[in-house]
Symmetry: C2
Subunit: 205 residues, 2 copies
């Protein structure tokens, strides 16, 4: 079985907004699809250890903003590369809110929807939420950013390094966790965010 085959599934890039009581948060995901109509329902899958997953389970509500091709890497880093457990991401970047007081993207997004969770399925590494779409807005006419566009055009390219330098560890590009050791095991999964070796970069001496 060649896991690289799964890389050919096409995805968008989304900001998932959440609120539970006074806590508001936003994170970046790439999985959302419409799964039924009449009424319209979508499914999203969120890593179980993510704060967003916890907040959706608590409140049963979220927003999903479909990022467009004007988004900067800084915006994706702000929402995607730090945890709402450590940082209030909305404090320095206030966002508009839907009718439930849940933040959504006020820029660099072509559309948004509000979801009310109908069912959640725990899949071990992730929880899949099936949600009725209770509101949806077109925000701009810019084309949506695909995950392939993000990988090819938005995400910074790894910098070339001196091949003489010795690797002393591997850093998870998603959450920042450091694995100490020269060789990252091929089946390694980040203990913080669950991502695999393709999302680690070397740390040099």
């Amino acid at each position: 079985m060649d896991n690289k085959a799964l890389y050919s599934l096409s995805y968008g890039v989304f900001m998932v907004g959440t609120r539970s009581k006074d806590v508001k948060n936003g994170c970046i995901t790439n999985t959302c699809m419409q799964v039924a109509n009449n009424p319209t329902r979508v499914a999203i899958s969120v890593i179980n250890t993510n704060y967003t997953c916890y907040l959706i389970k608590e409140s049963g509500m979220f927003t999903l903003s479909m990022l467009d091709n004007t988004v900067s890497f800084e915006t994706i880093r702000h929402f995607g590369f730090q945890s709402g457990r450590d940082v209030n991401k909305l404090e320095s970047l206030p966002l508009p809110e839907d009718d439930n007081g849940i933040p959504y993207m006020g820029w660099s997004a072509c559309a948004m929807l509000s979801g009310k969770v109908l069912d959640s399925i725990d899949l071990g590494s992730h929880t899949m939420f099936i949600a009725e779409v209770t509101d949806a807005k077109v925000l701009s006419s810019n084309p949506p950013l695909t995950y392939a566009d993000y990988q090819n055009h938005v995400k910074p390219k790894p910098q070339k390094v001196d091949e003489q330098k010795k690797i002393k560890g591997w850093k998870c590009k998603i959450c920042g966790f450091i694995y100490e050791g020269e060789q990252l095991p091929a089946d390694y999964l980040c203990p913080i965010c669950g991502h695999g070796p393709e999302d680690f970069e070397p740390v040099y001496e």
Copy 2:
């Protein structure tokens, strides 16, 4: 609520292959995402009235071929615009098969996976299947076709018609069903395949 917002979700275009006993079939869908890892699992959503949905429920297995940007409209029409209830689609277009004897695309696909259904959720219009990926292959280095690419570059543009001509009905471009009447209701759903007004084209007198 503006349903057009949902058009900004990004999808691929897939051929779903099925087999139950001696019956083999293939159809076109646009919904598949990886929902969990370790083991790798995907979710697909299939219209309940489709023959493919019935065959997956019977056998608990399917293949999913990720179509690439070399695919022709004729291939999509062959698998997507007729039902396996009426036509044996594999008779005139034999395909390779996975270890379970289920057909997958031998051309115009960049990757394929074999799925074993773990759970199915009936959502009224569609059934969502959650499946463990039991095999996966890279088939070519061509980029995957996105659903936006299909709409903009593969699907034929509607032909301009004489504005004097009177509309006598509306034809579903997905399954061929004819709605008789000059005006298609804005919330109309095809009784055969469940698609909405955006997938109907006028039939002139």
